[in-house]
C-alpha cells in the first residue's frame, strides 16, 4: 500500500513538473496574461539616431490571445484612420483615401521604427513559433522560439519568462544567426487587467542610438463579438457602439 502511494505520488510529481516545463504551455500562459480580451490604449515612442522623438498613440481591441486584433491610431493626425487588423497571421491596413484594405506583411518595419507591424499588432508567439525549453531555474524559463513560416517578424527568438508568466527579455535573430533586436519587458503595473510588464523597449545593434518603446497606458477587459474582427469593420467601427 505504501509502495503504491509512493509510486502514485512520484507519477503525479513527474506529470506536474512536465506540465510546468511544457514550453508551449508556458508561452500560452504568458499570452493569456499579456493579451487578455480587452481594449488597450498604448503609446509607441521612437527615438531616432539623431535624437528626434516620434510618438504614436494607438488603441487595440483584442480577442483570443491576440489571434484577432484591431489597432486604431489616435495620433499623430496623419495616422488617424490608417487602422490595422490582424486575423490569424494576416494583416491588412486601411487606406482612408481609397476606402480599401491593403494586405501587408507582418515582418515589415513599422514606419522604420524598431518595431515591425507584427510587434505593433503583438503577433502571438504560440501560433507563429515553435518553442523549445532551453534552460530553467527557480525564477525563470528560457525558451528558444523558431519561426514556423519565413515571413514571421524574426526567425529565432530567445525569450526569458519569469515564473509568474511575465516575459522579461527577448533576443531576436535572423536566419543567418545575426542579432537584430533586443526586447526588454519592464515597468510591471496593473493597468486594469492584472499586473504585468507595461513597457516593451526595443533596441537594435544596427543602430545603437535608436530606441523604440511600446507602453500600455490603460487596459480594460472586454469580450468583443466576432463581427468586430473583420476587414469591413475598419471603416464601420462597430466596437465603438458596444
Amino acid at each position: 500500500m505504501k509502495f503504491l502511494f509512493v509510486t502514485l505520488l512520484s507519477v503525479l510529481f513527474a506529470v506536474a513538473t512536465w506540465a510546468q516545463d511544457d514550453p508551449l504551455g508556458i508561452i500560452k500562459a504568458m499570452e493569456k496574461k499579456m493579451y487578455p480580451n480587452a481594449k488597450t490604449e498604448m503609446l509607441l515612442v521612437h527615438i531616432t539616431s539623431q535624437g528626434e522623438r516620434e510618438e504614436y498613440k494607438l488603441v487595440s481591441y483584442t480577442k483570443t490571445n491576440n489571434q484577432k486584433i484591431i489597432v486604431r491610431f489616435t495620433a499623430p493626425a496623419r495616422m488617424v484612420g490608417s487602422d490595422l487588423i490582424m486575423l490569424d497571421r494576416n494583416v491588412w491596413a486601411f487606406d482612408p483615401a481609397s476606402g480599401r484594405e491593403v494586405k501587408i506583411p507582418t515582418n515589415l518595419s513599422f514606419g522604420g521604427t524598431g518595431f515591425s507591424y507584427g510587434d505593433v499588432l503583438r503577433l502571438n508567439f504560440s501560433d507563429n513559433y515553435v518553442p523549445v525549453l532551453q534552460a530553467s531555474d527557480a525564477k525563470t524559463w528560457t525558451l528558444e522560439l523558431t519561426a514556423k513560416e519565413r515571413d514571421a517578424p524574426y526567425y529565432r527568438i530567445v525569450l526569458v519568462i519569469d515564473r509568474g508568466f511575465n516575459p522579461q527579455k527577448g533576443t531576436c535573430y535572423t536566419r543567418a544567426g545575426d542579432l537584430v533586436k533586443t526586447m526588454d519587458y519592464t515597468e510591471p503595473k496593473d493597468q486594469g487587467a492584472g499586473t504585468k510588464p507595461a513597457t516593451i523597449t526595443v533596441k537594435s545593434p544596427l543602430d545603437e542610438k535608436e530606441v523604440s518603446s511600446l507602453t500600455i497606458v490603460k487596459e480594460t477587459r472586454k469580450d468583443y463579438p466576432d463581427n468586430v474582427f473583420n476587414k469591413r469593420n475598419l471603416s464601420a467601427r462597430l466596437e465603438e457602439k458596444l
Binding site: 516620434e54 496623419r78 490608417s82 491596413a93 486601411f94 487606406d95 483615401a97 481609397s98 491593403v102 501587408i104 506583411p105 515582418n107 515589415l108 518595419s109 513599422f110 514606419g111 522604420g112 519565413r150 515571413d151 524574426y154 535572423t174 536566419r175 543567418a176 545575426d178 537584430v180 533586436k181 537594435s204 544596427l206 543602430d207
Partner: protein
C-alpha cells in the same frame, strides 16, 4: 556595346481586341548591353510598353525568343519565370505604383521582404539607397504626403534596393514637371554610371534621348532604328 545582357529574336505579341487581333509587336530584334543606358522611343501605341513588359518578364511573348544573360527565359516554367524577374529586374512606373498605406521607408522595404532578405541586410540596404537618392528626410511620409518628384525618388529607391541587374522605367517623368523630370533623369543617369545597372527607359523626353547611350525607336510594332 558591352557584353549582351538581353537579346530578343523575332519577338511578337498579339492581343485579342473584340473579334480582331492587334499585332502590338511584329518581330523585334534588339540586343541590349550590360550597363547600357537605353532609351526606347516612339509614338503612343507603337508598342513601347508591350516591349518593356516582355523584356521585363511581366508578360509572355506570343512567339519569339528572349535571352537574358544567355538564358532563354521564355522557356522557364511560371514559378522560375517569376523568380527570375523578382531577383534580376526592377521597375519604375509613370504613376509611381507606391503602396498608399505604407510610408516611404516601408515601400522601399517591401520588395526586400518578398526576396526574403534578412532584417539586418534590409536595414543596411535601405540606409544606403535612401542616402543615394536623397530621400532620408521623407521616409516617414506616405505617398499622398509627397510631391510627384519625391514619390518618383521613392520608386527609384524601391527599384534599386534589390540590387537588380536591369531597371525598366516606363515613362518615368511623364507625370512630373520639366525641372523635376530633369532631376530624376540626372539621378538615373548617375546611378547607371556609378552602379553599372542597366537602365531601359521608355520616354518621349528629348533630354533623355540626348543622355542615353543609344535610342531605339519602335513604330507600328517594329524597331525602326537599332
Amino acid at each position: 556595346m558591352s557584353e549582351p545582357l538581353i537579346v530578343t529574336r523575332h519577338l511578337k505579341k498579339d492581343y485579342p481586341l473584340g473579334k480582331t487581333m492587334v499585332n502590338a509587336l511584329r518581330g523585334v530584334d534588339v540586343t541590349i548591353g550590360r550597363g547600357e543606358y537605353l532609351c526606347v522611343a516612339g509614338p503612343s501605341g507603337a508598342g513601347k510598353s508591350t516591349f518593356l513588359n516582355l523584356i521585363g518578364l511581366l508578360d509572355r511573348a506570343t512567339t519569339g525568343e528572349i535571352q537574358f544573360d544567355g538564358e532563354a527565359v521564355e522557356t522557364l516554367k511560371p514559378k522560375a519565370f517569376h523568380r527570375f524577374r523578382r531577383q534580376r529586374i526592377a521597375f519604375i512606373f509613370q504613376s509611381f505604383n507606391l503602396v498608399p498605406v505604407l510610408n516611404a521607408y516601408e515601400n522601399i522595404e517591401f520588395p526586400l521582404l518578398i526576396q526574403k532578405v534578412e532584417a539586418s541586410e534590409r536595414r543596411r540596404r535601405i540606409d544606403a539607397v535612401t542616402e543615394e537618392v536623397g530621400i532620408r528626410d521623407w521616409l516617414k511620409h506616405r505617398p499622398d504626403e509627397l510631391s510627384g518628384g519625391q514619390r518618383q525618388r521613392v520608386a527609384i529607391a524601391r527599384a534599386l534596393v534589390t540590387k537588380p541587374e536591369v531597371v525598366i522605367a516606363d515613362e518615368p517623368t511623364a507625370n512630373l514637371d520639366s525641372v523635376t523630370g530633369r532631376t530624376i533623369l540626372d539621378m538615373m543617369e548617375r546611378l547607371n554610371k556609378e552602379e553599372q545597372t542597366t537602365f531601359i527607359i521608355a520616354s518621349h523626353d528629348g533630354a533623355l534621348m540626348d543622355k542615353a547611350d543609344r535610342v531605339i525607336r519602335i513604330v507600328d510594332g517594329l524597331v525602326q532604328h537599332a
